[in-house]
């Protein structure tokens, strides 16, 4: 059911990773995404996977939840794999019809799939260990140091916070309206695509009306409490770095150094083909 979908997929348990400052996690994830593309040999991939495994182990999150996010992009991974297997030139291993399967193709496909999986798992560790609110908090701080968008940082993060805050509400509302229409004999499951699309109208109309009303009321309530954007606005809880954050930054730097070394130092290179 709709209720079972967890947006932001925050998994609330105690761990060193959960306790890190959101900025640390955002920076680490950002760096990880970029540095993953430096990997071009066995050592590089092993390093990427190793750092990720360390992170997962420290986060106390069951593997089942960590890998759930991969399911969402399974099709993309599959397409990538199929394309790589069939179009990469190399020694032909066997043929399926006019399609050639090469050894380089198989290896390429495997590494592509690995890289995509690491990308998704790496980013979902951040969302699994950081509550949506502290994530947007962290983003606001991070955006404040970027020149072009500095002046919109607060507004952007406020918009994100509000959107995130109202996703569960909206889900609940959709669930409720769906049930109410079902109670009146509506059928959302059978019929052709066109019929199904038509059947959604009784859910969408009340949902939109409700959202507009809520947005209007929220804006009014914020203005009534003198909200006027980010100018001179102070916060109740300032983000602050702890000892663990410093360690995490050091680990990040070490990771970057090792990954770059794996690509350029001949000593560390065990090339793929």
């Amino acid at each position: 059911m709709l209720k079972d979908i967890t947006i932001g997929q925050y998994y609330p348990v105690q761990s060193k990773i959960h306790d890190l400052d959101p900025r640390t996690k955002i920076v680490y994830t950002f760096v990880y995404i970029i540095i993953l593309f430096f990997a071009n040999n066995y050592v590089g991939y092993a390093l990427g996977a190793g750092f990720l495994a360390l992170l997962i182990a420290m986060s106390n999150i069951p593997l089942k939840f960590v890998f759930r996010s991969v399911k969402a992009i399974l099709i993309i991974i599959l397409i990538t794999v199929i394309l790589n297997v069939f179009v990469t030139p190399g020694n032909v291993l066997f043929r399926i019809g006019s399609l050639k399967v090469t050894d380089a193709g198989l290896i390429n496909a495997a590494f592509m799939a690995l890289r995509l999986t690491m990308l998704i798992v790496g980013t979902s560790i951040m969302t699994l260990t950081t509550s949506p609110i502290s994530l947007t908090d962290g983003m606001e701080y991070c955006m404040k140091v970027i020149p072009g968008i500095r002046s919109y940082a607060h507004e952007l993060s406020m918009m994100m916070t509000i959107a995130l805050r109202f996703i569960p509400t909206l889900m609940e509302e959709a669930d409720k309206i769906m049930k109410a229409q079902k109670a009146r004999g509506a059928d959302f499951e059978t019929g052709s695509i066109f019929k199904k699309a038509r059947n959604i109208v009784p859910i969408l109309v009340p949902l939109f009306i409700g959202s507009f009303k809520r947005a209007d009321e929220l804006a009014m309530a914020m203005e009534a409490r003198c909200y006027r954007g980010g100018n001179n606005r102070t916060r109740l809880y300032e983000l602050s770095y702890s000892k663990n954050d410093r360690i995490a930054y050091i680990v990040t730097v070490v990771m970057v150094a090792m990954m770059i070394a794996s690509r350029f130092l001949p000593l560390m290179r065990i090339p793929i083909q």
Partner: protein, 292 residues
């Protein structure tokens, strides 16, 4: 018709850290001609319970038995059940979506595949029950009506399915006193005249005390009491214990008795209370005290 819940438990988000048992081993049945009031705190499982009665939720454990037949998971079973058991949700006006009042109320009967003529008859009947004039309102947009009128249109939208059991979840929440009275009167008349079985979910003790002939008290997913109102509302201490106040009338009668007046302190309905006080004061008849 009768609906039975046998050892029903319901757990939300099973197998995740958000797991929550909303119903624990519920066992009860609804029979013909009853007017049941379900009371309990927010989060006591009332809403989850009633969604089991018309197949919107399936029990995690246990079974739902309708007219002696166990409900399966098949969609046919559920659709058939939903035709017989009408459910009006809290703030039902949030479900309105059509351009006109007529079309919105006709949504249910249309889903049943009835003829145009039958649909019109049903809409007419349903609007009459909730006290909306057919000719005046049928072409109006439901979104330009007042809150109370919208609520009544939404209730009519369920009534037009002609359910044998009508379940209402907090039908009077957020309405002004007149709006509340109008809706309660419609529901009571429906029960009296058309012999519809009614289940009224509420945390307003006075509403339930006035109307129900059987009261179910829920607390943290369990049925705490299930008895006629006279047995429930006289246990003021027990109700207070779980944070549900007793009806105003019974508190008044107790206060009067404490103050030395010779009255029966087990009375919880306004009309009886009036007679009892007049009797104690040795006065004649007063004016009627409520419209129902």
């Amino acid at each position: 018709m009768s609906v039975q819940l046998i050892n029903v438990s319901h757990i939300y988000a099973q197998g995740t850290p958000f797991e929550f048992a909303a119903l624990k081993d519920i066992h009860f049945s609804i029979d013909k001609d009853e007017f049941i009031g379900i009371i309990g705190h927010t989060g006591s499982g009332k809403s989850t319970l009633i969604q089991h009665l018309n197949g919107l939720l399936s029990p995690t454990e246990g079974s739902v038995v309708v007219d002696g037949v166990k409900m399966g998971d098949s969609k046919g079973d559920k659709l058939a059940l939903r035709r017989k058991v009408g459910l009006v949700f809290q703030y039902a006006e949030h479900q309105l979506f059509e351009e006109t009042v007529f079309k919105d109320i006709a949504f249910g009967p249309k889903n049943l595949g009835l003829s145009e003529e039958e649909i019109e008859n049903r809409v007419r009947d349903a609007m009459e029950v909730v006290g909306l004039d057919f000719e005046t309102y049928k072409e109006r947009s439901p979104f330009e009506l007042s809150g109370g009128q919208m609520r009544r249109v939404a209730i009519a939208g369920v009534l037009s399915m002609k359910p044998e059991i009508l379940i209402l979840d907090e039908p009077t929440a957020g309405l002004d006193p007149y709006g509340k009275e109008d809706i309660l009167r419609s529901v009571y008349q429906l029960h009296e005249r058309q012999k519809t079985t009614v289940v009224l979910v509420s945390h307003n003790m006075d509403e339930v005390a006035r109307l129900a002939n059987r009261v179910i008290v829920m607390s943290s997913g369990e049925i705490l009491m299930d008895a006629p109102p006279a047995e429930i509302f006289t246990q003021v201490e027990k109700l207070n214990e779980i944070g549900l106040g007793a009806p105003d009338i019974i508190c008044l009668m107790r206060a009067l008795k404490k103050a030395g007046m010779d009255v029966d302190d087990q009375i919880f309905r306004a009309e009886q209370a009036k007679e009892e006080i007049l009797r104690a004061l040795k006065r004649g008849e007063g004016a009627p005290c409520s419209k129902i």
